[in-house]
Symmetry: C2
């Protein structure tokens, strides 16, 4: 999988990396068992520091998406390691609320706002840029 980052983005590099991997899993381009590039190799490929990649991998491990063992690189976990349980849904809902509130403030109703998200989901599934 090819991962790209945007040095001009307001989003932190390590966050872009986290998003890229989650995105890859969401689209099915990254499958359980697949090997990730080593922190050192990915850092060189992207022209960034090893620690920035390492921080992203640590977060992805903590979220359950990756496993890592010394000298073996990182590997994508089985789907059972990152399920959409109630706790996850609650936290995601809270994270999204500021955005949802802005939609409501601008006159959209619950269904319109939900539709926007459904569109976003469909766009993600059809997305192919940034991966290979």
């Amino acid at each position: 999988m090819i991962i790209k980052i945007d040095m001009n983005s307001e989003t932190a590099l390590y966050e872009q990396l986290v998003n890229s991997v989650v995105w890859g899993i969401a689209t099915g381009r990254l499958k359980p068992g697949e090997k990730m590039p080593t922190v050192r190799k990915l850092a060189v490929d992207l022209g960034i520091n090893l620690h920035t990649v390492n921080k992203a991998y640590a977060i992805l491990k903590q979220k359950g998406y990756l496993s890592a063992h010394r000298n073996m690189g990182a590997v994508v976990n089985e789907a059972s390691a990152y399920t959409a349980d109630e706790a996850f849904k609650e936290s995601i809902k809270e994270w999204m609320k500021p955005f949802v509130a802005e939609c409501l403030a601008r006159g959209m109703d619950s269904d319109e706002t939900a539709s926007l998200v459904r569109e976003a989901a469909l766009e993600i599934k059809n997305e192919t840029e940034g991966f290979a």
Copy 2:
């Protein structure tokens, strides 16, 4: 309107203020024409610096929610100043995508994800904490 902030939150103070005002408009507790507390008064009430409040007000002005004139305090704009136009919907969709991607990665489908957002919208509308 009473605005509360959480000094222990990971969210920046000025962002919490922005969110509070948007939230107030979304729930109808803040209506067009309503006067906001002065930057100095709100800063004192919350026990934070004047500049932190000023930064939040500047962002809210830029987004169209507030107007401010010297010696007159800030006022909530008419709804026509902050509509959900196409540009807004596009940007919101992009902002939400990382969260949506995480839902998809965890096996939720477009409809389930959209439902989660509909729930969030309904919860916001029923929310009464933090305002008066």
